[in-house]
Each structure stands twice: as structure tokens, then as C-alpha cells.
């Protein structure tokens, strides 16, 4: 449905999107995941023809978005990060304009407007000025605009940002519904959100695709990067002694608290983190030492990024690592100008 080939975008000297290639099939909900500034919005703007690419190609339904712009754009409904609304109009007037611009006329236009207003549930406010609507309703009007003309692909840029929890749940449900009829691509920097809605996830960091997988598989790698955290009232030496008898512990960080308790963070090289937890629990029990607290700290999105961008080579998060990361990043950004081919290779490894 959408084919992105070697897409690259420079803003002056700044490389925002670096040789991005992927393919999106019809009929799924895709999630674009990445921290702020990773190039999500830039990529989406290029996929919808709002922004030109420095080099590379985007094909939508077989039409090139830059060469055959109008034909390609007819297949896409796009909601930018900030919904592009005319504040002094009512949702109905606004949707009529967008519908006409998409080539709808007469009865077909009216039918479409009624349909999308029903779909996003804004019947109650269709005659009110958009400027007077709440953020959640504005977002819905923005989505309604994208739905007009029944496009095959709907692209939503951070559709839940700035909404309250109830509104977020409603918008997520709406997106899931849309996924049954359309190909939906949405971007987010919240992992749990993408996990909840999407069937496939693309992770972008520093303008590069670092992972393209189903949520379950990513979850596994997420768990692998997790830490076991526990608190005990045993002495530090005892703790070290017990831990030395537990297999698959790759790194330990101990910390003595003020009230005499010891808290520890463990990293494991085993893929089954629960098995390690179980062994840990019994190891303490055997020595008649109490575990006052035992929990798993899932790796944050940032950790995954670091892991994915460095090819999963990260061990214990020691003090020296952030420096290494920074050094490598500056190195890679200085290379990117002329060595894009090297970038592609490492990218393929990770995918």
C-alpha cells in the first residue's frame, strides 16, 4: 500500500530522516514509535506530500507522492500533530470545505459528512464554532476531516497528545474501529499506547528505522532489557554472597539506604526474567533472609532505543556508558553526510 524507499531529509545541515525504507501493507494498524525529535512527524509529512524529501521515494497505492501528488493524496487522510482547523467555522462548514477539496459534491458530500460525523461522534457539536470546542472534540473534528472521501490509508500524527485519560481511551477505541476498514498509521512516543492499538510497530530513532516488528516480539526484547529490583534487610556481604550463587545475573548495583535496608538492581542475560526472579527468591529463602520487596523494572523506551541503536550490545548500565553513547552518536551523525550506505547495513542487521 505504501512503499518508502531510501527517504532522506535534511533541514539545512541537520539530518532529520536518514535513508528510511519500509513497506506498509493494506489493512493493519501500524504504529510509528520514537522519542521526540526522532523524525516521526517529518516522515509522516513526507508520506503525505506536505513536505518534500531531500532524496528518496514514497509510493502510495502505486502513485508517487511527489510526481503523481493528487492521485496519491486522494488515497490518504492525514491528521497533522496540530489539527489544522479553521477556528471561526463550525465542524459542518469545515468538513464541507475539506470534502469539496477532496472532490466530493452534492448528495455524496452530504452523505459523507453525516457518516464521518457519526463515526467520530460529534453530532452534538456540529453546529458550534470550532474555537469553542474542547481539545478532545477538536481532535475528533481533525480525524473526521481525515476520514472524508473514505481514503484507504489514514495517517494520524500523535492523535492522543494533550487529551485527558477518558478522551484518550475514546480516541484509541475509534482508531481500533477505523483499523477494520482502513490502513491506519499513527505515531506516538508512548510505548503502551502503540502496544495497545497497533498490530505492527516501527521504531524510529535519529531518523533511522531501528525496528519493525509485532508488539509481542518487541515485548520480549523489552523484557530482556528489564531489571530485577529488590529490597532486603540482609547485610551487603550476605547479599553479594547469595547473588553469587544465582545463575544468569550479569550485573549488580547495590545501594544502602538510610534505614539500614539494602536495595539492589540486577541485570540478567537470560531471556526468561521470571525464572531468574524465582531462583533469586528461593536463594534468599534458603539462607533465611527476607526479601521485603521484589519487582521488575521494565526497560523504558529510551533503554530500548539505546539497545536497538547499538545493536543490543549494552550490558550493565555503568557510568561510562552514557559517554560512549554520546560519543558514538556524534560520530555517526558526522558520518551520515557521505556514508549513508554504512548506515543502511547496520539498519538491516537490526531489522
Amino acid at each position: 500500500m505504501i512503499k518508502v524507499e531510501h527517504l532522506t531529509k535534511y533541514y539545512g545541515d541537520f539530518l532529520a530522516v536518514d535513508d528510511l525504507s519500509f513497506e506498509i501493507d493494506e489493512g493493519h494498524v501500524y504504529g510509528f514509535l520514537g522519542p521526540n525529535g526522532a523524525g516521526k512527524t517529518t516522515t509522516m509529512n513526507m508520506m503525505t506530500g506536505c513536505l518534500s524529501a531531500t532524496s528518496g521515494k514514497v509510493e502510495v497505492g502505486g502513485y508517487d507522492i511527489f510526481e503523481d501528488a493528487n492521485k496519491a493524496k486522494e488515497l490518504i487522510g492525514y491528521l497533522p500533530e496540530q489539527p489544522p482547523l479553521y477556528m471561526n467555522e463550525t465542524p459542518e462548514e469545515y468538513l464541507r470545505f475539506v470534502g469539496e477539496a477532496k472532490g466530493l459534491r452534492g448528495g455524496a458530500l452530504e452523505k459523507q459528512i453525516d457518516k464521518v460525523i457519526d463515526q467520530v461522534k460529534i453530532q452534538g457539536v456540529r453546529g458550534r464554532r470550532i474555537s469553542a470546542l474542547s481539545k478532545g472534540y477538536k481532535q475528533r473534528v481533525g480525524i473526521a476531516q481525515a476520514l472524508l472521501g473514505n481514503p484507504r490509508v489514514i495517517i494520524l500524527d500523535e492523535p492522543t497528545v494533550g487529551l485527558d485519560p477518558i478522551q484518550i481511551i475514546e480516541i484509541r477505541d475509534l482508531i481500533k474501529q477505523l483499523g477494520q476498514e482502513h490502513t491506519v498509521i499513527l505515531s506516538s512516543h508512548i510505548l503502551s499506547e502503540v502496544q495497545a492499538i497497533c498490530e505492527k510497530i516501527l521504531i524510529i530513532a535519529h531518523g533511522r528505522l531501528v525496528a519493525f516488528d509485532e508488539p509481542d516480539n518487541l515485548e520480549k526484547s523489552l523484557l530482556a532489557g528489564s531489571e530485577i529490583v529488590f529490597t532486603t534487610d540482609a547485610k551487603e556481604e550476605t547479599v553479594m554472597d547469595i547473588l553469587s550463587g544465582v545463575e544468569h545475573i550479569s550485573a549488580v548495583r547495590l545501594e544502602e539506604k538510610e534505614n539500614g535496608l539494602v536495595s539492589a538492581q540486577l541485570k540478567t542475560d537470560s531471556s526468561d526474567i521470571y525464572a531468574v526472579s524465582r531462583r533469586l527468591f528461593f536463594a534468599f529463602a534458603d539462607k533465611k533472609q527476607a526479601l521485603l520487596e521484589l519487582s521488575l523494572k521494565k526497560a523504558s523506551l529510551e533503554d530500548i532505543f539505546i539497545e536497538l541503536t547499538e545493536g543490543g550490545a549494552s550490558g550493565q548500565a555503568g557510568l561510562s556508558q552514557p559517554e560512549d553513547t554520546a560519543a558514538e552518536q556524534t560520530e555517526s551523525s558526522s558520518q551520515t553526510g557521505d556514508e549513508t550506505s554504512a548506515g543502511t547495513e547496520s539498519e538491516e542487521d537490526q531489522v
Binding site: T48, S52, N70, Y78, P80, P84, L85, K102
Partner: protein, 287 residues
């Protein structure tokens, strides 16, 4: 394009803009008719139009300031880019809407000569010739206003620049009598013009090489001509200022000459600025 046209028209008539524009134009032409045609009992309606033309300095920028600037401020330009319409269609739709807003008060004004002709001898060809010319002149000023609106996302700034540029254009003929008419003065003025052109090219294309190249070629050309025959430049600056004046060309019609070169000039100005507007919108796609 019709979608943009309808949308713009709805916008103008939902807000005060169209009404304020029409009211100002009608008021000043009304006052002019009262002074010239009724009180002084002059039968030439074209004098009224000539008198009223200064109102364009204010009302055109007020009408055109929001055209693109407001889209950019509201971020609705993103919507226009993502819709299956071209930037040419967007500019054309918006410009046609402006013309419609402009034609409504003009249609009312076009009845005046007919009314006056009931009470005396009115030479209608000059009246309607001037009316046609003032339509084209206003249309050219609007194209200029649209372009200025493309340059910023601040409506007030767009209006301010618009007023300044049109006011300068209005007085450029009077000013031209005071500027230096020596060849040295003209060369300086040409140098400034070449720099401005270079800056414009650089802004629109982001291609520094092209901008410097064009400026350099023109500068060399001016220098060569200057060395060959400096007298060619004498009186050039005042001549340029006269030639660029949109208002000066309108006065030919008032004097009873249906000047085809002026019509071609107005149409070229419209084409030029609408082209620049489209380019300016396209350029935003590259940033």
C-alpha cells in the same frame, strides 16, 4: 479550486472584512461624486475615481493581509498541502475570491455614471474606461497583497508592509522629481535593485549560487554599460520610478486615453505576483 473559492467567500462574508472593504470603497467614491459631480457640477465621473484611488492604500492590505498569513498562523496550510489540490489552485481560488469581493462594490459604483447621465452630458466611454482601469489596478494591488501575505505568518506585519509598499507606489511619481537624475545616482539605485533581486531569488530558491550568479551578471552588465556610455543612465532612476507606478498608469485612462500598454502592464503585475505567491507556498514545502 472552486472549493477554495467558496470557502474564502464564505469566510469574507461571515466576517467583517468584505463589508468593511466595500463600505470604504463606496464611501470614498460617494464622497467624491458628491464633491465633483453634485456640488461642483462636473460631468466627468473619472475624476471621482482618480480622487478615490488613494483609498486602495488602506483597504487592499486590510483585505489581503490574512489570505496566506492566517493559514500559516493557524497551521491550516498543512491541510491545504495534504489535500489533493495544487498550490496553484489554492492561490487561484483565493485570488478569485478577492476579485469577487472587489467586484461587488464596483458593480454598485458602475451605476453612478448612468444615473448622472440622466441629468446631464456624461461622456460614458471615459467613465467606464476608467472604471475598467481601476478594476485592473486594484486587482494588481491585490496580487501584490497576496504575495506579501505569503511572506509572513503575522497578519499585522503583512498589512503594514502592504500599506508601506502601496503608499510608496502611490507617491513614487511625485518622489521621482526629487531623486537624483544623474547617472551616478541611477547606478546606485540599480545596484540596490540588483541586490534586492538577488535576495528575492535566494529567498525563493534557497540556491545561493543562483542568487549570487544572477546578481553578479547583472552587476557586471551595469558596470560595462556604465563604462561604455555613462550618459545612458542619466535620468534613469526617475524614469524607473515612473514606470513602476501603478497609479500613474491609471491617470492615463482618466485623461481619456485607453492605454493598452497599461492593461498589459497590470496583467503582467498580476501574473508576476501570483506566480511568486505560488512559488513561496511551494518553497514552504521544502523547509
Amino acid at each position: 479550486m472552486t472549493a477554495v473559492l467558496k470557502h474564502e467567500l464564505r469566510n469574507y462574508f461571515h466576517s467583517f472584512t468584505a463589508y468593511v472593504f466595500g463600505a470604504f470603497l463606496l464611501a470614498i467614491v460617494g464622497i467624491g461624486s458628491m464633491l465633483y459631480n453634485l456640488q461642483a457640477a462636473v460631468s466627468n465621473f473619472e475624476y471621482v475615481l482618480s480622487f478615490g484611488s488613494i483609498v486602495f492604500v488602506v483597504i487592499v492590505p486590510i483585505l489581503t493581509m490574512r489570505v496566506i498569513a492566517e493559514e500559516r498562523r493557524q497551521r491550516t496550510d498543512q491541510l491545504l498541502y495534504s489535500l489533493p489540490i495544487t498550490t496553484t489552485q489554492v492561490i487561484a481560488g483565493k485570488y478569485l475570491a478577492l476579485l469577487v469581493v472587489y467586484l461587488i462594490p464596483l458593480a454598485v459604483i458602475s451605476i453612478y455614471p448612468l444615473i448622472f447621465s440622466q441629468f446631464g452630458e456624461v461622456y460614458l466611454p471615459t467613465s467606464y474606461g476608467s472604471l475598467f482601469a481601476i478594476f485592473l489596478m486594484g486587482a494588481a494591488l491585490m496580487a501584490l497583497g497576496v504575495f506579501i501575505s505569503c511572506l509572513t505568518d503575522n497578519q499585522g506585519l503583512a498589512a503594514g508592509i502592504g500599506i508601506a509598499v502601496i503608499l510608496f507606489n502611490y507617491y513614487s511619481v511625485s518622489l521621482s522629481e526629487y531623486v537624483s537624475s544623474t547617472s551616478f545616482g541611477s547606478v546606485i539605485a540599480l545596484a540596490v535593485l540588483i541586490l534586492a533581486l538577488g535576495a528575492l531569488i535566494r529567498y525563493l530558491t534557497r540556491n545561493e549560487l543562483l542568487a549570487y550568479g544572477v546578481s553578479l551578471v547583472l552587476a557586471v552588465a551595469v558596470c560595462v554599460i556604465c563604462f561604455v556610455d555613462a550618459s545612458l543612465f542619466e535620468g534613469l532612476l526617475p524614469a524607473i520610478m515612473k514606470q513602476l507606478s501603478l497609479f500613474e498608469r491609471f491617470s492615463a485612462f482618466v485623461n481619456g486615453v485607453f492605454d493598452m500598454t497599461a492593461i498589459v502592464y497590470y496583467l503582467s503585475v498580476i501574473g508576476f505576483f501570483l506566480f511568486l505567491s505560488v512559488q513561496s507556498l511551494e518553497k514552504r514545502r521544502y523547509n
